[in-house]
């Protein structure tokens, strides 16, 4: 449906320069070092060069909340938080991460996060969360997941919906595949050469688009046609250019020439045949034959070839780094081109190499990312001027996603939802309930975080004044506080439940005074206190 008329006059470039510096294995730290060790090595090196001293390590209460939000998608329960804080086991951090990484909550949370990432901000893009739940549970390698989402073979969990659900807009499909899997937003090149990235030409765009040109839907299945005319586009100077299958690195994929005397006729006949099969499908259940030469399979192959696969590996490394550190090694995460250098080039190279040599094991990468000293730094900077964000000297505040925020507010409001007495099945059922409630209540008005996100006043208005929302906030927590003896108990329980830590003395005084002033309406006093805790900045962020 999109017209690609564009009249800016620029010359077409022919060279490609995406991959950046090639991996110089000799200069990188040895492959057998651990991920956290390597992260800290490179970050420390750069901090030293910059003459900066990093922030101290975060305290236990902060860290257990951070790990729970990052790996479980919600704040810890009071019991979980206290158990961690009180434990003297030197291995407790690694043990917690390990427990979470093998939990169903991790799978569900990761599926949500990946689903958001894969939708690339396109509100019409399909969800592949059902597939992600299965694939992430099995910890399928990322390259395999890419293959599956490109529709390598049909599957009841429908990874191919990634492509199928976008077939109505192949331009969006092209853009989003390039951006999500390879970190390169090529939308500018649809109409003209990229203004900053000389190597991004219209050829790059239409060459990538060509990989999807034969794809079509048949009875809910993703198929490809055997025949088709070569991809063409009208360049800015009006000339019609033909372009073959061209990967972002400039690698061309040779296509077998159609072995038919009359191509237009073959195309027409194939279309006719497909129409007939479509018509008779209810009876015959016959599918059109598979194309002998699958274009999408070729994309997967060329992208994962040793000489090209860095794009693929670096993109997921950078996106996961962004998720756990709040700022990418390359910013923006969809601008990973040669003109936009990473803050820590060797680190990115090492992590990409490590991911490739460990069969694209995502769980291994995540485990490593959350095990570094840098991950565990405090988010508070007490010095005068904070170091540059890309030094990672201090942890970033990361706004919670709608799901993290929703499940956490609901859990804090109803602390008995998840208890240790529950069987794993009960726990899972409760988690799922929590998820769907969070989606229902928060999915629409809490925005998905993005770079430079601005929290809109609409959010504050809704949380401040919406009657149904106010009823929900602290729904079960407040009656429980009412039953507790003593103001101190009430305040301590409330702060532990909502903020996963003990109240400071100053806070205890402040909250106590607030409740005191409302002795004629104790329940309302507690309700308002819980509201203030649930709405304060500390709760809104993963800090």
């Amino acid at each position: 449906m999109k017209s690609s008329v564009c009249l800016v006059s620029l010359m077409l470039a022919s060279s490609f320069l995406f991959a950046g510096a090639p991996l110089a294995a000799g200069e990188l730290l040895p492959a057998d070092r651990s991920i956290p060790e390597v992260i800290d090595h490179y970050l420390d090196l750069k901090l030293k060069h910059a003459g900066a001293v990093p922030a101290a390590q975060a305290d236990d209460a902060t860290l257990v909340r951070r790990l729970m939000l990052d790996l479980g998608g919600r704040i810890p329960t009071v019991r979980e938080a206290k158990a961690y804080v009180e434990s003297t086991d030197p291995q407790k951090r690694r043990q917690l991460a390990e427990r979470l990484l093998t939990s169903q909550e991790y799978v569900a949370h990761s599926a949500t996060e990946f689903d958001i990432m894969l939708r690339a901000g396109n509100d019409r893009a399909p969800s592949v969360r059902d597939y992600l739940l299965v694939a992430l549970k099995e910890n399928r390698p990322w390259d395999q997941m890419f293959r599956e989402m490109m529709g390598e073979k049909a599957d009841s969990t429908r990874p191919e919906n990634f492509v199928l659900g976008r077939l109505e807009d192949v331009d969006a499909l092209t853009r989003e595949v390039s951006s999500v899997f390879f970190g390169i937003n090529i939308s500018c090149a649809q109409c003209h050469r990229h203004p900053y990235v000389k190597s991004l030409t219209q050829d790059s765009y239409f060459g990538m688009r060509a990989f999807f040109s034969r794809s079509y839907e048949f009875q809910g299945q993703l198929l490809e046609k055997e025949f088709g005319i070569p991809a063409q586009y009208k360049s800015k100077n009006g000339a019609v250019r033909e372009v073959g299958l061209l990967f972002l690195t400039g690698a061309e994929v040779a296509q077998p020439s159609p072995n038919v005397p009359d191509l237009p006729k073959a195309i027409q006949e194939e279309n006719k045949r497909i129409e007939e099969l479509r018509k008779n499908f209810a009876k015959a259940k016959e599918l059109p034959p598979r194309a002998a030469f699958g274009f999408r399979a070729q994309l997967v192959d060329v992208a994962l070839r040793p000489e090209n696969r860095e794009l693929f590996a670096r993109s997921i490394v950078n996106r996961l780094w962004y998720r756990f550190y709040g700022h990418g090694l390359v910013m923006r995460v969809d601008q990973m081109h040669a003109q936009n250098a990473p803050s820590h080039a060797e680190l990115l190279d090492w992590l990409a190499r490590d991911l490739i040599s460990h069969s694209y094991d995502l769980r291994r990468l995540v485990r490593g990312l959350v095990d570094s000293r840098a991950y565990a730094r405090s988010s508070r900077w007490d010095g005068s001027r904070p170091p540059a964000v890309d030094l990672f000297a201090v942890a970033n505040l990361r706004p919670l996603t709608p799901m993290q925020y929703g499940t956490s507010q609901l859990l804090a409001s109803n602390p008995d939802l998840l208890t240790v007495e529950q069987s794993p099945e009960q726990l899972q059922a409760q988690s799922q309930r929590l998820e769907s409630e969070a989606q229902k209540w928060y999915g629409k008005f809490i925005e998905v975080p993005q770079e430079g996100m601005v929290i809109n006043v609409n959010e504050a208005l809704r949380l401040s004044n919406d009657a149904a929302m106010l009823k929900l906030l602290g729904e079960k927590l407040v009656p429980r506080l009412m039953k507790l003896e003593g103001r101190g108990q009430q305040i301590s329980t409330a702060v532990w439940t909502v903020l996963s830590r003990a109240p400071t003395e100053k806070e205890a005084e402040l909250l106590s005074a607030y409740i005191d002033k409302r002795q004629d309406r104790p329940q309302q006093a507690l309700q308002q206190m819980v509201w203030a805790l649930l709405n304060c900045s500390e709760f809104r962020f993963n800090h």
């Binding site: 008329v5 007490d382 601005v454 949380l463 004044n465 709405n535 900045s537």
Partner: protein, 439 residues
Amino acid sequence: MPRTARHQGCGSPEHAISRRAFLGSASGLLLGGSGGLNMLGSPLLAEQMKRDQKRALLIFLSGGASQFETWDPKPGRHTGGPFQTIQTSIPGCHICELLPEIATRVHRHTAIIRSVDAANTDHDAGARVVLRGARLGNDGVKYPTLGAMLARELMQADSRVPDHVALYTAEVGLTINAQPDAAGFLGSRYDPINILSRLAPEGTRLPEALTDLDHQERGQLRDLLSKEFLKGRERDGTAASHSAAYSRVRGLMSCETLFDISQEPDRVRARYGPTLFGQQALVARRLLEAGVPFVRLNRGWWDSHGENFDIHAEMVPELDHVMSVLLDDLEERGLLQNTLVMTFSEMGRTPDINTMRGRDHFPRLSATLTGCGIRPGVVYGKTNENGTDIAEGRVTVPQLFATIFKALGIDHQKEYTANDGRPIALTNAGARPVKEVLA
């Protein structure tokens, strides 16, 4: 201490009344009254403010309205579609027959530009182009939207009303509509209050469970808890925006009546008509009247890939009527001379009519500018016979922006300091206003 008003009026002593003095004397006004300037105690003050403060309204036709079926018809051409044209009140100027009401008014305050070049055919990218002056932000600068810049330039420092409100007919929060990060490096004060498919922001009313005092103190408690946490942590705009959002809650609650059109006489409401767009236009008028410097009124979704003519037959008459009533109403209230009303889309629609009787995305479009600073009755720029390209007077988006700024008395070359310390002018270097449409 009284200060001089930002925008001087006629300069006579009785008009040299500061806005702060005005707000001081009328501070209860926004809480209880029927809103707007009618309720001001002193007609002199109201008049003063009307004259002094410039305002802007963007009627944004999102999805891409067809220039053929509105301002730039091509009757009798194969690209022209089925509609006829009508003579307007500007001699020699014909527009589509779907705009009969506006056709009788264009000579009064309006300039039509038929040669805007958006150089883009994608909704989201196009919206970045036409709303951020063709600055895509690939250089790391968080460019503000036109609305945020106008809000910044036209706001009153001690204003009690919002600086930037965006009303949209749809409830889908597409980026093109809701414009996350609209203010960019200007900071969240200039971000819009987004109102999707309603007339007022949600949650502007005091909840029944709380007294007003408890509501206020609950908010203060939240602020105190947050302040302690944010010490040493407020390093980026997101954390600041969270505090800013809560700090605006009470102010907005006090402005609630501004959004309440039931306070308008039946006659006025009837005039704007019963559609959501008409009602939102009335809200927009109330906001402008009360001194909101920038309002964006989004009517969508015009994306007529199929049934272009049926869609425009339905939507253009509504635009015609609502825009006409709005201009009349602003004029009658003495506001139009200080209010610039703009209409445009993120792109135009193709000359070719596709197999769905639709028109697809096209980088050329028409725009209108009405009111403040505009030379009335001007038709600027031309497309060729079939509307396939601009023939005369190409206006780039930065030029359009420069023209808008100039019309409102704002120096379009003025520089801001961006988030990374760079000086950034309001419009791209070299963009000159189109002087032919300026008064």
